[in-house]
Symmetry: C2
Subunit: 87 residues, 2 copies
Amino acid sequence: QDIRAGREKAASCVPCHGLDGIAKAPDAPNLAGDSSFYVDAQLKAFRGGQRQHPQMTLIAQSLSDEDIADLAAWYSAIKISAKLPQD
Amino acid sequence: QDIRAGREKAASCVPCHGLDGIAKAPDAPNLAGDSSFYVDAQLKAFRGGQRQHPQMTLIAQSLSDEDIADLAAWYSAIKISAKLPQD
């Protein structure tokens, strides 16, 4: 669960998920502040085929458990705040 | 794509996804600021079975296309900002 290693490994995620985990691509979710449990579970679901996506399935198949733990640590370490739209 | 209707319909999502779309449950993602395209696609994947989750599959099966569009509009209308962890 190494945040700094996760930040380095996340370099290839940036085009879709953004430098700060706020998505750039409309078909990608924000990852900033997601729990490490959730990020870990989703990457393993893509790797194992329980969840499918053209790019994510390929990317996840190249990830080790350690890569996944580091990426999960990185994204969950990003602090986010939300502002509700005013009616 | 009615934000106000989406906010009302999101009342049942709050226990896991939070009032402001920042998740309360560790196995739930943040939804705040996710694109309406992404939220719409994920709810339809849960409804159609392409994606599975114990609660989400059941919840999504009760949603109409209009419910999904309103929920997607609501969550994408929430503004989020991210703060990277300092090294």
